[in-house]
Symmetry: C2
Subunit: 767 residues, 2 copies
């Protein structure tokens, strides 16, 4: 655990430069706008440890993985988010000394991520070996209003010398992924062009054939005056640069503006890429840095209006929750239904693929409450559009008649992970995808989604489950064998309670939705039934029969559901009994030892209690919580939030707050010693859930918002904004009271701690 | 299934050349002498499909395998038997036409593996594009008397032309393994030397650093007269060649003798390799081809005296059983305790590693009965010498205090396979290693092995099991979670009946052996106990407690043992109900589907009945056999032999014979369409077992040989030779009688069909 980030309500601040922390800071200070993003690398050359990372949403590479023993049906590749052309590069040489923070003396270093306005700032004074001192101040952002644009202002003052400064403003496409197999590079050059102060590099990915054109333009000012530099072009393999030199007198201030664009063949005809990049750059340069920054800042202010959480009395918590929200919106804006939320966003390369069940299980609640309805709808449509691939995927595993198994990890709907115990067996993801439809409709009341898209997906999923279970003559129940549950510290288990539960729920929900659609729009239902060749009577009967006869493992003595068959055969040790040296288990224990232990990586039975809480009373929740919590090691970043919400539900405020702490500053404090690989983006949504669903106890029941709030002891108050069915509410929980302001045009009913209130438009209720 | 091999009692014969079958024949006609071996590639150039394969025992390479997600404790490499320098090459050019059977017309082609004398012969007439015809006759062998020597006689007659023949007799070390990751080549050249008619190439393996010097000498005769050729040396990277040209008149016969040697740094100082190779070659050339071949033939005649099985009335069966025995002895001779029996021997590269549990479970019974006692003893010592590595291996997985887990696949005692479900979980191999000790002592009565070596291994193994089980509070029994049994179509199961059974047996046997050693040699026992830090009272008590309280899954209604917990939850389908298009499952079904099906890859519960048959009466065996046999797909070559033996025990002669057929001609008829990858060497021992333990019902009980024979309907008789405690017996089972001849100097008691007989020295009993 690190503790070097300065506490501040709206800013992430690093003071003093420590090369050992650089890769961590590169992750933490990352920038993104949903379309492109980058780690917080330095513009100027840096010879110390760094993970140079620029990423363009939707551009990936199927990196082939070979293992000695291939099993039938293995996906043949592991798709990777691609490290793309580096467009921030500004190589600065002062006389004959290259500016490099690893080799010079760094004074007054400060790196600031301004979350309120959405930009990265860096200030430092560098003293070169010769004794020359420069003061540098940079600002950089990826525009959320023009999401193909990035901009840099790089200001340099000659403090104690006069000298010629050599500048190379470049695009470098000769990059590779950190963990590429065979150390392969995935990009090939298509073309490059340099004209005056602009340079363009078009690259193509091998195999997948994405073309991306990266363009830059560069302006140089001396003491505020544009000096119309003559740039000397530099072309190398996968590299374009604009070189120039400027003579600086002591005290002179040099300002470099660099505008960049990434345009991809995902969005434009290949032959128009260069033209489009040129137009983007021209427009950005014409607007100028300050105007673009003002647009950026204004747009972020609007985002915060919808989504901010204010915590009074705990700056660390305040900073952390804003950091989580900020990074989520940097990663996914919901504009493009082809995109999704990678577990590392644009901050690193680990986990390769872009879409996991994290999206449906953890991110959907966040975007539902904090962004326009279309954002979540687009996340749902992403899966709808990939239904055919999910059916193909199921067919590869022997399923028939339109059964759909969504991939565990995907870029384009195809499975792109390659561990059988995950891809073949961690099938509960299918349930989360159905649950997200339910969750979306519950929250928005957008029933039209069901008939237009949702039901078709639900039928594919229900068909999968109905084929995946089998009748156990021994148990006289339907069973589900050979699965991996959310707790990935078990593989190939039988009757995982969570998976059986969500499978039956999916079939039940598909039946309910079918009824609903049929009742409301019989013609639409009939059309859809024809398209998917639905044998209504037989299929519905089978689903119902399975729902009615599903097997759920439980232990009557303990009064708990069993994570899976045989769980109680394991040696029952508690996490508290584990020596510290054995943690984290995934780094200290061999895989088989983990598998046969009773330790749980992340909420499993309790995940089911979270999804289906209305089915269970607090007594049985408490028994299960008290049984499983002490056995859970939370070695997945997705785990503590569920425990926080359930602890809150049980009134265990202290533990709820403890679980919240584990998630909220996970990356800021580098809790798991892995922030340098990138941020845990999807689990950040869990942090938000801990506050809103945990501390504020927010739920939607029968179309009505419910709150059951408490205030963590350390805090003076917390408040948050949410959107709900057209209304924008501000909810504030303080020691004395709960205050809700209705910022919308119509009244709204809410239930607070069991009591119903009507909040008039633009009025406040303080129960 | 193919059917192109001519039936012959002592020879494997291919007539007519079909390039499509060439890789299969290359496997079938393979040569070996335990120290080195090779596929039956052609000496002359061949441009068609071929898998060029030369192998040197004990020389391997740790080929790194990367997978996307590494689990803690995974072995980092998959070791591979190395494709080594090709020493058979004789490049023949007639005028300007290269002799290449893929491009010329081939007449009267015949390939013969003479198993009685241990050599490979090939005859053909080739007609070149020009119409020139040559008749070629080659003989080749790897000497079993001088096991670093190989020899070739290559005879060529100019049938219808006079022309200059250009010859290049070479060693080519620029080879690679077919399945090397990254297409890497594993050899680097150390040095090469050419003098007169000799050429030497010394190569070093990367990483492992084995040096192997391959030397050749070449003699050329024209019409039987040595013509003292002046060879022109040819050196290239990892290549040495001897070039010469000879003018042939029509009718002239050219004879090329090529002697080759492989010497490795495993056996000599590096600086002596060249000298040793030179001495080997000089000696071989001095002896000459015919003398070496005579020695070879004589030695094989001796081997057959110990090990032959004669089947009258069924040439296909006769040929098959001899082929199996022949290939087993080509693979392993037992001279060197550092070597073992690779599943493909010297016939291919698949399965990489050299040692599997196949050795102990299947090969030991064969070598016990057909080879001197030292051969099996060396197989046992191989494991004894690797005990430290087995203890290290267990430590990596969290075991303590000298617990030993032998690797699933190994070259040098380290685990060198990389699937967690195999390496971490298929731990029953530890049981087979203990069982082989039991089996060896039962057969030989060599109790000294126990005190000198065996007990130490047994203690390591018993310690492992005692730590690997855990007490189930739920079942009030010791359980074993997360294993893979012999049936690899299940992974990570709980309480595999076979594994639990053999684990408890190991602990019981370790206790018995400890008692025995302690009683017979208390001082030795005390010394050993000190070396292994044995806490006798506590450890023995624990082992006994586990033995007494082990859990064995069974179903009382069916009266069968359950392969594992939950087996009856599976959908119970029989193999007979599977569509033909679904077979073999491992090529047609996805892995998860196989895992959750009830289908069994190879004998699992029944393997336990085979090992521990005296514990169970025929009634319970029959119930289990009738339950599991219809669920077993036998997609492991190791499976049918066990079923054959148990069917024979149950008196089901018809089925016993059917299972025998599945194993005996597996490779000759390319039953599984994979012979081109190499032969199934270790399962060949199972074929032998089917005859001797199945049809003849041979067992050792209380130091006495028992037979319970029957004659397969189709056969007139079968007979076999076995060695037993110094005696050599010939057992002949015919329609009328069983005849046993005692070829040794003392009398021996045997039990035939329940009745005891004493067979006097060199006399015959015919009950």
């Amino acid at each position: 655990m690190k503790n070097y980030i300065q506490k501040n309500e709206w800013n992430i601040i690093e003071e003093d430069f420590d090369p050992h922390l650089n890769k961590i800071s590169e992750s933490i200070f990352s920038l993104g706008n949903g379309r492109m993003g980058q780690r917080a690398n330095f513009e100027e050359h840096y010879s110390g440890e760094t993970l140079q990372g620029n990423y363009v949403a939707g551009v990936y590479y199927p990196d082939k993985t070979r293992v000695g023993w291939w099993k039938n049906g293995y996906p043949e590749y592991f798709a990777k988010v691609l490290n793309a052309a580096n467009w921030i590069g500004l190589d600065i040489t002062i006389g004959d000394e290259r500016l490099d923070l690893f080799t010079c003396k760094v004074i007054n270093f400060k790196r600031i991520l301004n979350m309120q306005s959405g930009y990265l700032e860096r200030l430092f004074t560098a003293e070169l070996k010769s004794g020359k001192q420069v003061q540098v101040n940079t600002k950089r952002f990826c525009s959320i209003t023009s999401d193909e644009i990035g901009a840099i202002r790089y200001e340099l003052i000659a403090l104690n010398f006069s000298e010629t400064i050599h500048i190379n403003s470049f695009v470098d496409g000769d990059v590779k992924n950190q963990d590429s197999n065979y150390d392969e590079k995935f990009w090939e050059e298509v073309s490059s062009e340099i004209t005056d102060d602009e340079a363009y590099l078009t690259l193509k990915t091998k195999k997948t054939g994405f073309d991306v054109c990266t363009g830059i333009s560069t302006q140089i000012l001396l003491n505020g005056e544009n000096i119309n530099s003559d740039f000397e072009p530099e072309k190398k393999e996968k590299f374009v640069g604009l070189r120039t030199s400027v003579n600086l007198n002591q005290g002179d201030a040099l300002t470099i503006f660099k505008f960049a664009t990434n345009v991809s063949s995902e969005n434009y005809e290949r032959e128009h890429l260069l033209k489009t990049a040129n137009a983007n750059i021209t427009e950005a340069a014409a607007k100028g840095f300050e105007t673009l920054l003002k647009e950026q800042s204004d747009a972020w202010v609007e985002k915060w209006k919808e989504s901010d959480i204010v915590i009074e009395g705990d700056i660390a918590a305040q900073q952390a929750i804003r950091f989580n929200i900020f990074q989520l919106f940097q990663t996914y804006t919901g504009k493009d239904a082809r995109l999704n939320i990678g577990p590392k966003g644009f901050t690193g390369e680990k986990y390769g693929g872009s879409t996991y069940w994290d999206t449906e299980a953890y991110c959907v609640p966040f975007y539902l409450a904090t962004a326009p309805q279309e954002v979540t709808r687009n996340l749902l449509l992403y899966r709808y559009k990939q239904l055919d691939k999910a059916i193909e995927n199921a067919e590869k595993l022997g399923f028939k008649n339109g059964a759909a198994l969504y991939p565990m990890v995907t870029m384009n709907g195809e499975e792109c992970h390659n561990e059988w115990e995950i891809t073949f067996e961690e099938i509960h993801r299918n349930g989360a995808i159905a649950y997200a439809i339910f969750n979306y409709v519950r929250y928005t009341n957008d029933e039209s989604y069901l008939k237009d898209y949702g039901l078709e997906v639900l039928i594919g999923i229900a068909r999968f489950w109905s084929q995946r279970v089998n009748w156990s003559a021994d148990k006289q129940k339907y069973v589900m064998l050979g699965v991996t549950g959310p707790n990935e510290y078990e593989n190939n288990v039988n009757n995982n309670w969570y998976t059986n539960t969500i499978a039956a729920w999916c079939m039940q929900y598909a039946l309910e939705v079918a009824e609903l659609v049929k009742a409301n729009d019989p013609q639409k239902f009939a059309e859809m039934a024809k398209i998917v060749s639905l044998d209504e009577a037989a299929e519905f009967e089978l689903w119902q029969k399975i729902v009615d006869n599903m097997y759920y493992p439980e232990d009557e003595n303990l009064g708990v559901f069993l994570q899976q068959d045989g769980y109680l055969d394991k040696e029952q040790i508690l996490v508290s009994e584990l020596p510290a040296a054995d943690r984290p288990l995934n780094q200290k224990w061999s895989w088989d030892r983990i598998l046969r232990s009773c330790f749980i990586k992340q909420a499993d039975v309790l995940q089911g209690f979270y999804f289906f809480e209305d089915r269970f009373d607090d007594e049985i929740l408490r028994r299960n919580f008290d049984f499983y919590e002490p056995r859970t090691v939370h070695e997945s970043s997705l785990s503590p939030c569920v425990h926080a919400i359930l602890a809150a539900k049980l009134g265990d405020e202290k533990r709820a707050y403890e679980f919240y702490l584990r998630t909220s500053r996970l990356d800021l404090d580098d809790y798991n010693n892995d922030t340098e690989d990138g941020l845990h983006i999807t689990s950040m949504a869990g942090t938000w859930m801990s506050v809103v669903e945990g501390f504020a106890g927010m739920r939607v029941r029968n179309g009505v918002l419910h709150f059951n709030p408490f205030l963590p002891e350390k805090w003076n108050s917390f408040s948050f904004n949410i959107s709900f069915r057209g209304a924008v509410l501000n909810v504030r929980v303080s020691k004395e009271k709960v205050r809700i302001i209705n910022h919308s045009e119509s009244d709204i009913s809410v239930v607070i701690s069991g009591k119903q209130h009507t909040i008039q438009s633009d009025l406040t209720v303080m129960p």
